[in-house]
Symmetry: C2
Subunit: 261 residues, 2 copies
């Protein structure tokens, strides 16, 4: 599983404070700890409160890449902020995200082509998140077609089937699992699949249990990547065990130690 | 998930000792604790060491049903021991198990028909456990056909795709997951699916982590029942969370408490 660390996000109090105080230390500490915890890339989200979103994105990119050298996953709905982040990235970046709306695809896909970087496509359109897996697949197909038209390799596309809080919409997780499975038959090569995991447990009491259980279920359905908290040890151990059971990680007696950095 | 408690098995030292000393207390304590932990039925296995397998089976059945009133799942390869156990059962029993071998089916299936009880069918034949899901499905189909011929309802058949230790045969778990999924297309109504979970982690260091991860993966592929240790709290919590995420258990804020007995 390709692990994208979710913690550098202005919606978290520690990150929000660091942004306000223009203090790189907490950001860099989070960057290092997430990579040590198993992150292959780091999500960068300025958060809802930031006033200078463009400047904050550039600053977060700069201070993060001073600390670690994994790809940064630029998480914004604003194409200008995305461009500013992409220009600030010295190494590889990942675009997070476009939806399947024509307008959003027209703004974001050319950036993926220009900067030659992977792209997360959410199965959302003008009407919002579809009820079921079939609705999600329609949008996924639209994203695949649009990428093909722009010359973006489908192996650079990550379909995010948009998991929602289980306490609000209990039918959603199984539709997401089905979408993950169905994506593998969408094209050849198929797009990758990803989930923004923590959303499933928003507002619930057993957040960590729901997160790790949902992640293992998604891996059992073929998930390729996830945006998660790599500081959650039990989550990472569950993911490692799942990949051992799926024969994606070679078994050894202390497989937890072997696959933790 | 239909939970069958695995602990009354003569391969465990405490049960072996109770059998040798003819002491019902440890057996009855295990029966009560497993039911309190969430078991819907209890597996009864005299174990490899017992000399009077028939008498021991009868005794285990008698003392267990003095303590609890869930169905007993009689776990023996010997048709005479199975009949003795079935005759000792006052309530419902489950037959565990037949393989797909003609000889075994000829000995065991008539007992399922005569006692009108559910039956576990292992995807094993004279050549052993097949390499892959297709081989398992061939045997599953043979079991379905044989049940139909004997007038056994397919909703009383539980296909066990035979999980093996992941440290020895790392490719097996994914074949078992695929078999669980494929079984649902085998007939209408389809057979149930079951796994004898703990086998996956035999000889490994992280037994509990592998067990609960494997169980969640199997549930995500449609598993109906499992033979597990209901005294393993984290395993049971993972199963409950998985069923909440699959919309099989209704969500409530304290779903762990709500679904634990």
């Amino acid at each position: 599983m390709f692990v994208i660390g979710e913690r550098i996000n202005g919606m978290f109090d520690d990150v929000k404070r660091a942004i306000q105080e223009h203090d790189p230390a907490p950001i860099q500490e989070l960057a290092r700890r997430q990579v040590a915890g198993g992150a292959n890339a780091l999500d960068i989200n300025v958060g809802p409160a930031s006033k200078d979103k463009l400047g904050t994105m550039q600053w977060l990119v700069e201070v993060s890449q001073e600390a670690v050298d994994v790809p940064l996953c630029l998480d914004t709905t604003n194409a200008e902020v995305m461009r500013a982040g992409l220009e600030a990235c010295e190494g590889n970046a990942i675009i997070n995200s476009t939806t399947g709306e024509e307008e959003r695809m027209a703004a974001i896909l050319p950036l993926a082509a220009e900067f030659n970087c992977p792209l997360i496509g959410l199965t959302i359109d003008a009407e919002g998140v579809p009820r079921d897996a079939d609705g999600r697949m329609e949008i996924a197909l639209r994203l695949v077609s649009a990428c093909m038209e722009q010359g973006i390799s489908i192996s650079d596309l990550y379909i995010d089937a948009v998991i929602l809080p289980v306490n609000a919409l209990q039918q959603v997780p199984q539709e997401v699992l089905m979408t993950i499975r169905m994506c593998k038959a969408l094209s050849d090569p198929p797009p990758n699949t990803i989930i923004g995991l923590s959303n499933v447990s928003q507002g619930t009491v057993y957040r960590e249990l729901l997160n790790r259980t949902c992640l293992v279920m998604a891996l059992a359905n073929g998930l390729d990547a996830a945006i998660v908290d790599p500081l959650d040890d039990k989550l990472m151990e569950a993911a490692i065990a799942a990949e051992v059971l799926l024969n994606r990680n070679i078994y050894c007696d202390d497989f937890i130690k072997a696959y933790r950095k």
